[in-house]
Structures are given as C-alpha cells and as structure tokens.
Symmetry: C2
DNA sequence: AGACCAAATATGGTCAGACCATACATCGCC
DNA sequence: GGCGATGTATGGTCTGACCATATTTGGTCT
C-alpha cells in the first residue's frame, strides 16, 4: 500500500471512479477563466503553447480540452495568425446536439420515434409562444413563398426547415431553438424522402398555411393542432 | 448561413475553414464501424494504438476523437487490462447536455429563464404522457415518501430530483428525459437555494401530491397545471 | 509615395517515441 | 489448490519535432 497519493477530487464533473485527468483540470481552469474574466462570444483564448505553459501541462492535454470545448460548440479553432486565429469563443449549441443525436441514434439508444415526439413537443410549444407574442410571422411568410417557388425536393426541404426554424426562433428561447435545429438536422434525410414519397407538396403547403394563419390570429391551440396534423401527414409510420 | 449542409465525412463539428482534420476522419470511421458492425452499448472499440495503426494516423488524433465521443456520452475509457479496459460504448447523453448547458450559461448565451421555460415545457409534456399511460407512479410515490423524511434542504432536493425525473422517465422518451436530467443538474443550486428561502416544504409537497394525483387519475391537463403552479412557486423571479 | 512580392513569424495540426499508472493475466512457488 | 511475484496490455501524459496556413513585416520595384 505505497500508492496512496491520489490527488483529491477537484473537477466539476469527476468521472466515475477515474482519476482526474489533466485535460479535465484544464477544462475547469478555462471555465473559471471564462467566468472570472467575463469572456463572451468573440473573445479569444491564449494559444495552445501559452496555455500549456501557464497551466503546467503538456500541449496534448490542452488540445484535448479544446477538443471538448469545440464539441460542445463553445470554441472554434483557426490556424494562422492575426485577430481571427487561435481558439475563439463561439456559441453553436446546435451542432453539438446534432452530433449527440446522430451518435445515439446510431447506437440504437435513441429511436426515431423519440426524436419525432420531441420535435412535436417543441414545435407545438414554440408555435403557442409565437401565437401569443405575434413574432416570427415575417420569417414564416418568407419561407412559405420560397417553398412555393422551390424547384425540387431538396430545395423545398431547405425552405421547409427555414419555416419550422422560424417558428422555433419565434418562441424567443434559444435553448429550444437549438434543440429544434439539431432535431431537424438529424431528420433531414427523412424529410427529403417524405417529400419525394408524397410527390405533391400542395398538401404540405396547406398545412404550413394553416399553422401560419393560426399564429397570425394568435390562436395557440389551433397552431398546435395544425402542427400535429402536419407532422402526422409527413411521418405517418412514426 | 445555416445552409452549410455538406454531409461530407459526417463530421461532428464542421471546420470553420476548409480542411478536415485527422480526428474528424477518425470520428467518421468509428461512426461507420459502429453502424456497420451494429455495435451497441457495452461493446468495446480497439485500443488506441491499434486504431492508430489501422487508420494510419497518430495516436494523438485517435485520442482527440475519443475525447469527442466521450464528451458526447457514447464512450467511456478505462485503463488497465481485461474485459472492462479500453474504450467501451455507453449511452450517457445527459452528462454531455449538462456540460453544454453549463458552458453556454457561463458564456451568457443562454439565460436561466430559457432553461426554466424549457423545463416547464418538458415537464408538462412528460406529465401529460405519464397521465395517459399511467406509468411512473411507483417512482413518484417513493420519491414523495423520501421527501417527507428528508433531513435537510440538500436531502430534500435530492429526492425532489428523483420525483421530477420519475415524471420525465414516465414519458417513455429517453431524449426528453436526458434533457430534463441536464436541466435539473444545472438548476441544482437554484433548487437548494429555493428550498432554503422558502423554509417550509409543506407547500412544495402539496404541489407534488397534486401532480401525483393528477397523473394517477389520468388527467393530463390537471397535471400540467399543477406543474406550472409548482414551478411558479419555486422560481417566482423567473 | 505607393504597390507589390518575399521572408519572418505565430498559430493550430500531426506525428513519433518515450515513460508512467493501472489492473488484469500468467506463472511459479508453497 | 492457494497465493503472491512478475508480465503485459491499456489508457494518460509529456517532449520535441515538423508541417500547413495566414498574417505581419519589410524590402524592392515602379
């Protein structure tokens, strides 16, 4: 019993039973720094070599920590030199969520049904919020027009996403909007297939217009019902 | 801006500039392998040195990819030897979401209000699902009893979390349950402070029992209303 | 003076190799 | 057969080197 020199538990989210790794310590320190210095989107972190020296760890540990932050959509790294180079703080929670969903779907620890149900929940709620606040109508109308002029399924779906994202953003909640974006990203292929299968988009557009009108008239219940009907039409097997 | 929908190798975080880094290629290959071999939770990935040789990249690139997968809650690395060693596939989406929320709150790109509203949305929806299916009552009852016997605010909140998670899990949707868990993790300190501030937990327990009764009677609307009232009592400033 | 091109430089990206810490596997002694 | 010493495979970490890229700098030509 000579090896009793375990460093105490310090990290914010200590892994179960594992010793605190260097990159986790780095993560905690960077998080402290963000909090303490009040850093926000657009600010830069010191370079990797500089951080390694300051925190007394190898550069590889710094890089692993930055990779985590990049995965979580909080930093973006750019090589080169100048004001735009280095690790810049960003805010892109959506891409992180997209990866999360895709991987868990791949592992079969999440089903398409669950994804679709979540989408229905968020979209109904968002539409209700939009109906009450009366926001987002402009973006929805623009997307509606673009869908009318779409050349093919891919283009139609592109603007369809814009329509539904306009609803999500009209809720004024960046978290639900980010989750919605991830859900749509994951469902993208599904959406294209659905449009191709239906062949005709007039029914879809009628659904969209029903949603739009309900939001415009401030009728949250009607908006929720219209969305439920729409999703049921597009994804009947689920 | 959002039309950068280039599938490519299926990278998780699209590089801001151009080139795909080695670890992103590794990520894509591991993802392919999971899909192709039908790997699921519990299965192991090859060792880091082995993967490096197979994919013709340095070990550090392998490690960065594994760090990403670990961040997303799909692998867990363990040193040593034997069946439990190496990178094992897991499914822990909640912890990934917790980190995501905490960092974005730190960056002020997300507000407590948005977090609370999202929680209200999910919890109302989950309670509705639970009321319709009649599941989760046992876990809720157990948590209720435990809260009655709680010694202090910390212990009370611990079982309070169990109560609300029982609702979230009763929905049968692992995605909303995972999001709910992350939201609760982030709100933990808030919850303890609220209990301390209120001083008395009888009102909270009355709320909980109202929710429980509504779910037991299959009244989704009453359950949603009870939850709204409860959250409004606990977090009035939001 | 201005425009333009070449070298210097700072930054992330990558690799190879070495070493440590850990925990199971194996073998040999009792 | 039991049990401890040794072997070994695995992740964790550091160092140092080199590559790729983009800005900065400075010199040259017009």
């Amino acid at each position: 019993m000579t090896a009793d020199d375990r460093p105490g538990p310090g990290a914010l989210t200590p892994p179960r039973g594992t010793r605190t790794r260097a990159f986790e310590e780095v993560l905690a320190r960077i998080e402290e720094r963000i909090e303490a210095d009040g850093l926000t989107v657009g600010d830069r972190l010191p370079g990797e070599r500089r951080l390694a020296e300051e925190l007394q760890v190898g550069r590889s540990s710094i890089r692993e920590a930055l990779r985590v932050l990049e995965t979580l959509g909080v930093v973006s790294s750019q090589a080169g030199r100048g004001p735009d180079a280095g690790a810049v703080l960003i805010s892109r929670p959506g891409s992180a969520l997209t990866g999360l969903l895709r991987l868990h779907l791949g592992l079969a620890t999440l089903s398409m049904r669950e994804v679709m149900d979540t989408r229905l929940m968020i979209e109904q709620w968002s539409a209700g919020q939009a109906a009450r606040s009366g926001t987002g109508l402009e973006g929805m109308a623009r997307a509606l027009a673009a869908m009318d002029g779409a050349a093919g399924p891919d283009e139609f779906v592109e603007h369809d996403i814009a329509f539904h994202m306009a609803i999500a953003e009209a809720s004024g909640n960046r978290l639900t909007a980010a989750i919605m974006q991830a859900l749509r990203d994951v469902l993208h292929r599904f959406a294209v297939d659905a449009v191709v299968r239906l062949g005709d988009t007039t029914a879809l557009q009628a659904d969209h217009r029903r949603v739009y009108e309900a939001v415009r008239e401030g009728d949250a219940d009607a908006a929720a019902a219209a969305i439920a009907g729409h999703l049921d039409r597009v994804y009947p097997p689920l």
